[in-house]
Symmetry: C2
Amino acid sequence: MNNFVYYNPTRIVFGKGTIAELGKLVPTNARVLMTYGGGSIKRNGVYEQVKVALAGRTLVEFGGIQPNPLYETLMEAVAVAKQERIDFLLPVGGGSVLDGTKFIAAAARFQGGDPWQILTGASVTVALPIGAVLTLPATGSESNGFAVISRKSTQEKLAFGSEATYPQFAVLDPQTTFSLPAKQVRNGIVDAFAHVMEQYATYPANAALQDRQAEAILLTLIEEGPRTLASMNDYDARANFMWAATQALNGLIGMGVPQDWSTHMIGHEVTAFYGLDHAETLAIVMPQVLRHQRERKAAKLRQFAQRVWNIGGGDLVEAGVSRMEQFFHSIGMPTRLSDYGISAADAAKKISERFAARNVRHGEHGDLDAQAVKEILLKC
Amino acid sequence: MNNFVYYNPTRIVFGKGTIAELGKLVPTNARVLMTYGGGSIKRNGVYEQVKVALAGRTLVEFGGIQPNPLYETLMEAVAVAKQERIDFLLPVGGGSVLDGTKFIAAAARFQGGDPWQILTGASVTVALPIGAVLTLPATGSESNGFAVISRKSTQEKLAFGSEATYPQFAVLDPQTTFSLPAKQVRNGIVDAFAHVMEQYATYPANAALQDRQAEAILLTLIEEGPRTLASMNDYDARANFMWAATQALNGLIGMGVPQDWSTHMIGHEVTAFYGLDHAETLAIVMPQVLRHQRERKAAKLRQFAQRVWNIGGGDLVEAGVSRMEQFFHSIGMPTRLSDYGISAADAAKKISERFAARNVRHGEHGDLDAQAVKEILLKC
């Protein structure tokens, strides 16, 4: 097992009716900026619940944060936060709203010039405090310090992370997910599944518990995901899915083990060039990353086949990856670029050129280069 | 799934050589009280490592905290802390040193009169900050706010818990466990196993992930426990055991599910009356609690037999409990009072009388009474 530091101070307030706790969770004298997305929270009652819980507080609103939140939009929110002397941020929504609000929190306090530098390596040590209301289980953003931000003008999609941008608290009421479109639930299941795989499908590091904890989340997603999709109002299925998605990227299963985020890195570019949903890109890229790297990932992929899919023999590596693809199909998720009318050759060319230009390498061995990215995308 | 709040702000610094990080973790100008037990840290080099890491700091020492730490001793430490104007506590040792130091932290700031009230229900909202160096994996105390304290004068053993007594950080270097006597390793395995069972072996609450995460810890203890005992210097086995013991009682697996701490409650009395090690009492009491409650715990105990022990058929409930007992025996842990020359009839009488006098009831249904305790102990 490798050395590690685990730190996750987010208070999770989970269950039925928990939005009403906001009155106790948000500091009494705070000047709050409530951020949200396209307005679904106004249709499903969440907006009203938040307003009631915070009645009497100074509450400024900023709606319209997109999926794959845009730097250009977020900078407008930073201006509002400064103008209104905001000292507490309350994102209400899914991972995009949360990620975007983390950027707002960091940019509002950024002293180093152009806040875009936050995405290109500048250190973030201070940020406005954040408390989140999660309505879409998927990214784990409610309980980590990471955010992924897109820039329209340059077709870029980049990440940052800081201890300063952990939400102080996150309210998770599974009932808020009852009104989600099936497509978003499907996306959330795949996103959480991919998060686990990227911390698990590498090479053995003698981290017995982390392996078992990762498998626990995968098994839960496999069992509870279809139940979640089968009934919009199955509280326990939604609760299990919601908690599994949080646990998939709260840091725990990644402690002391190698990680391979190449699927996310390639997937971000597919979104940047072709506009696919984040999870849609992961379902396409991940199977081919695993197959391309099958020799070096063989031990863990065999374990995946045996413990997660209960496969007894044969080519365990391919059988496990195939079962994962079948699972994605079973919840309505395509796994090929052609399903979206995208040419694999076009994607391989454009995206490998971008990786070549950046000259960065990915994967648990740090050697997945532009040529490998090209080979992977040609199979997608 | 039941509603829950999960909050665990302890920073875990895990791995080889991590005691050297203390210089960065302890506030620079702190007046530190280092607490420890019988002095094993002076024989295994940990004491020296701590002193080197904190060279130049104000460091006062308080040794001699017993297993099952005594109120009488801890109050001496409170006096030292006040006299020396201590503002940071650094327990170095196992669960007893950590638990005792949490009491010191709370008692040093307690404003309500006799600090014994901390153990009898007084609210603890402030405490001296704590940073821990763990040398004995077992209790999970390094990453929770709980402590169990004994009082010699009244033969009592009582618990308290507070958010104010979470360690700010905990340093876990598995190498510090290389010199542990086999008996303490065995005790730690059983203690962690029991912690999981008390959050797991109740009744189904549709908490799919928590069940899987609990089973992940049990499977890890079953696989890594014997490896840990087989070789004193097997770093990865010790690391896996150490991390599993922390995860067993950091709150996570108990979220949203019923809990049954009756084994601990009865076990505490066995220690109070007969002086057995904490884990020794758990190994005796737990199998009989599970058998006594087999009807109401049947669904979870069948799941335990199937998922943890891979038992396919027959009386799954009894088979799972028997396999647990066999596992305890396999690591050298007795499971009967008679193994220690204690009369079950004597224990049943004394301890059930104490439960009757207190008139409190335990178990996940809140109805395990003195009569049930008597029946359980007669089988022990």
